[in-house]
């Protein structure tokens, strides 16, 4: 059911997928089996990916063997200078970590506390100082934190923050600490996802969750408009037709809606362009590549829905949070989004779970992917890094444990069944285990996500300097959605110039 994975998708995917993620080669280097990540210099992404996957697999197998060997024979604590990535149980360590659930999420808070207790049974020497947060990342506090070097020992970031974190010199290199010994599911994590946490041959973080975008629909409105809720539109022509039909229901209902504020407009422009097979920047990462027919299509689609076919309503300057609230209130037919919005709408906004379905990204040529992760503070001691990795492994990366303990989520009343996170590779034991666990405890109508799951779309990562580019395209997005006289070609040309300026100055 959930066998929708980057790996498979990427192999038959077009060129350019994941082109900004620096591909990795996984090579065993030391007898203990730590890994070194190298940058692949040239060659198409596809070849690299295949090679990488093969190497990673081989390395993983080899490493497991090495790890077994070392744990039984070689690793004797105290023997002069030999490095072990595993935390010495005799060392007392204290680590602080942010983005712990706050009091407004009582179930998750209790789960966190239970997990810490269980973790402390295995590692009684580790003290975890959790910093609860209602919102894990807000640009201003996050930036201030990096500038003031006030991040916790293990700190939360988005995939797209990598450059910022590295530029501020905040992150510790954890390459040699992440081994099949410390993170047993390592070989099952897609190299592409790990690559998003690596830079210049070094690994800096471990993933927490990740997503690819699709089209979320309100099935109830689809039915009321006489449409088939099991067939979310997969082309923009269909989106326009369906949206118009839903808007006709009246009463303030909008068939489709899109962001245009707070840099989320540019984010969705990117997602929609990827869907049509376009790219935001060229292979050098220094020049805009969206002023093409595909780019024009994206804007024209939205313009037509807003001003001609009536699929988009008058409310604009929408940013993250607005569409979710509108759909949960039954006022929105569909919008593009990550699957976890369904969790958000059912859990936080008390929407009706059976109303929400998700289909693949319209255009189906590519789907924007993103996610979040934990990095390690530059000043962490080796023991803190080891303890942090042990905790992340326990909480986030072990099927059946921590975030993957679905039976517990179910008894706690949390929604189970969203196709997310999706960082385990296709056919890997971790994914198989995770899928069956999830299915066994599903509380959400997983059949509604069938179209999304069984029609995987090539994931494409966000462009470099994403926020700066998004900011520029907010302008074009807001123009077509708020200005009847908007000129698509002119808007794109201007955005292209502006983005080129921004990239040249970055």
């Amino acid at each position: 059911m959930y066998a929708r994975i980057y790996g498979e998708a990427t192999q038959d995917g077009g060129p350019g997928a994941l082109e900004y993620a620096k591909p990795l080669r996984w090579l065993p280097t030391t007898p203990q089996g730590s890994l070194i990540i190298g940058i692949h210099q040239k060659g198409s992404w596809m070849n690299t990916y295949r090679k990488m996957a093969a190497v990673a697999l081989a390395a993983g197998v080899g490493l497991s063997a090495a790890a077994c060997g070392s744990s039984s024979t070689k690793t004797t604590p105290g023997t002069g200078g030999s490095f072990s990535p595993v935390l010495d149980p005799a060392t007392k360590v204290t680590i602080s970590i942010d983005c712990a659930p706050a009091a407004n999420k009582p179930v998750e808070s209790k789960q966190w506390a239970d997990d810490v207790a269980a973790f402390n049974k295995i590692y009684p020497n580790v003290t975890i100082n959790a910093k609860p947060m209602t919102k894990c990342e807000d640009p201003a506090p996050f930036t201030a934190m990096l500038q003031g070097h006030t991040e916790t020992d293990v700190f939360y970031t988005y995939f797209t923050d990598k450059q910022q974190v590295l530029d501020s010199g905040a992150a510790a290199d954890i390459t040699k600490y992440v081994t099949p010994q410390t993170v047993p599911a390592l070989k099952d994590i897609q190299p592409a996802v790990l690559a998003l946490n690596a830079d210049g041959g070094k690994l800096y973080g471990l993933p927490r969750t990740n997503y690819t975008m699709g089209m979320i629909i309100d099935r109830a409105l689809f039915k009321r408009a006489g449409l088939d809720p099991n067939k979310p539109p997969t082309t923009w022509a269909d989106v326009a037709t369906d949206a118009a039909a839903i808007s006709k229901l009246g009463n303030g209902i909008s068939g489709y809606a899109d962001y245009s504020a707070a840099n989320t407009g540019g984010w969705h422009f990117t997602a929609e362009l990827y869907g049509l097979g376009g790219r935001m920047v060229d292979s050098t990462g220094k020049k805009a590549a969206f002023n093409t027919d595909l780019g024009k299509q994206v804007l024209q689609n939205l313009y037509d829905m807003r001003w001609k076919t009536g699929g988009i309503g008058a409310a604009q300057m929408i940013k993250w949070g607005d569409l979710q609230a509108a759909m949960a209130a039954g006022k929105l037919g569909m919008y593009i989004s990550a699957p976890d919005d369904i969790t958000y709408m059912t859990q936080t906004l008390k929407g009706n779970a059976s109303d929400y379905g998700i289909g693949p990204m319209p255009g189906t040529q590519g789907a924007l992917t993103g996610g979040d992760d934990y990095y390690f503070k530059k000043t962490d001691t080796p023991d803190q890094i080891k303890a942090g990795i042990a905790w992340l492994n326990f909480k986030l990366l072990t099927p059946g444990k921590g975030q993957f303990q679905y039976d517990r989520n179910k008894t706690g009343g949390l929604p189970v069944g969203i196709p997310e996170p999706e960082f385990f590779a296709a056919g890997s034991p971790s994914l198989t285990a995770d899928n069956s666990n999830k299915l066994a405890s599903a509380t959400l109508p997983v059949a509604n996500y069938e179209q999304f799951v069984s029609n995987p779309v090539t994931p494409v990562v966000e462009p470099p300097n994403a926020q700066a580019i998004y900011k520029v395209l907010d302008g074009a997005m807001s123009a077509v959605l708020t200005n009847k006289n908007a000129d698509v070609a002119q808007l794109l040309a201007k955005a292209e110039t502006d983005v080129n300026t921004v990239l040249a100055n970055s």
Binding site: A102, A103, N104, K131, P132, M133, T134, K135, D138, A140, P141, T143, A144, M145, Q147, G148, H149, T150, N251, G252, W320, G321, D322, Q324, A325, A328, A329, G330, K331, Y344, T348, L349, K350
Partner: protein, 293 residues
């Protein structure tokens, strides 16, 4: 009521029949419009919280909630931790007020009456800060708060991160100094001849005469902390230490419209009650003590 001082339009003019009619028409109109403009939105806010998610975004809207329910209020109350946020905000505002009254008054007194060398330069440097956008300085300020120069103390998530920067309030110092300037120098001389120290002069002569301006400065000090948003968002990230503004902003991301509005009401009610209780003091303070033309 005390005798009305003469204003733009004379009492005799108003007493004429035509003047009376005009006066009451305009008065009635203004009262009605002002009530509508300033109470209307608040009415809409309070009742919005009693509406269902559907009703609050209904088109056309309802003047009264059809089926008043308090679910939105309880949900907002749960998510907002109002009592805590309110306590924090008052605590920060109170501390800022005390510190400003002590340090800003002392500084204004020194600049106005003691006039040390470089006093005008210092005043100029202080007034200059009014020209600097707060958002511009926020990063270097943040870095300062994280690691206070010389003493190397981290003020993050402590009230001092709000209190100390609030003392650097050039506008209040300016207001105080202007007021102190208008206190006759003869009084100061008389005190000096009696052998009173500057501190004693400040305490027993200047301050008693300055009650109105102290009222104004107090209001400005409290309102500034009460209204600030970006700075507390940065320096008080611990949810249990946040201010009302930051808490409400955290609540506002993707939430049902009726719960959001209920939350806005909850956040506003304490301020409104506080204001209505102390409005006499606030009003007379603001009107009486302000700069005179």
């Amino acid at each position: 009521m005390a005798a009305q001082t003469r204003t733009l339009i004379s009492q005799t003019q108003l007493s004429r029949p035509r003047g009376k009619v005009l006066y009451w028409t305009i008065f009635g109109l203004v009262v009605a419009v002002f009530t509508l403009v300033f109470i209307g939105p608040l009415y809409w806010m309070v009742t919005g919280g009693f509406k269902t998610t559907q009703e609050v975004i209904q088109n056309p809207p309802t003047l009264f909630p059809q089926h008043p329910q308090i679910d939105a209020y309880t949900a907002a109350w749960r998510q907002l931790n109002m009592a805590r946020l309110l306590f924090n905000t008052i605590y920060y505002a109170g501390g800022a007020l005390v510190l400003q009254l002590v340090f800003c008054v002392a500084a204004a007194y020194a600049l106005s009456k003691l006039r040390p060398v470089l006093g005008n330069v210092i005043l100029g440097l202080m007034l200059m800060t009014l020209m600097v956008p707060a958002a511009v300085l926020i990063i270097p300020q943040y870095v300062t708060v994280v690691d206070l120069p010389i003493v190397h103390v981290n003020l993050l998530n402590t009230p001092w991160a709000i209190w100390l920067p609030s003392v650097a309030n050039a506008f209040n110092i300016f207001l105080l100094k202007r007021f102190f300037d208008s206190i006759p120098e003869e009084l100061m001389h008389a005190a000096a001849i009696d052998g009173a120290s500057p501190l004693r002069t400040l305490w027993s002569i200047v301050l008693p005469m300055s009650r109105p301006i102290l009222g104004v400065v107090s209001i400005f000090a409290v309102v500034a902390v009460w209204k600030d948003f970006l700075w507390p968002l940065l320096v008080l990230q611990d949810p249990s230490k946040q201010t009302l503004n930051v808490g409400v902003n955290g609540l506002a991301v993707g939430i049902q419209q009726n719960v959001l509005i209920a939350g806005l009401t909850l956040a506003s009610v304490p301020a409104i009650i506080f204001f209505l209780i102390f409005q006499r003091g606030i009003m007379s303070g603001l009107t009486a003590g302000s700069l005179k033309g």
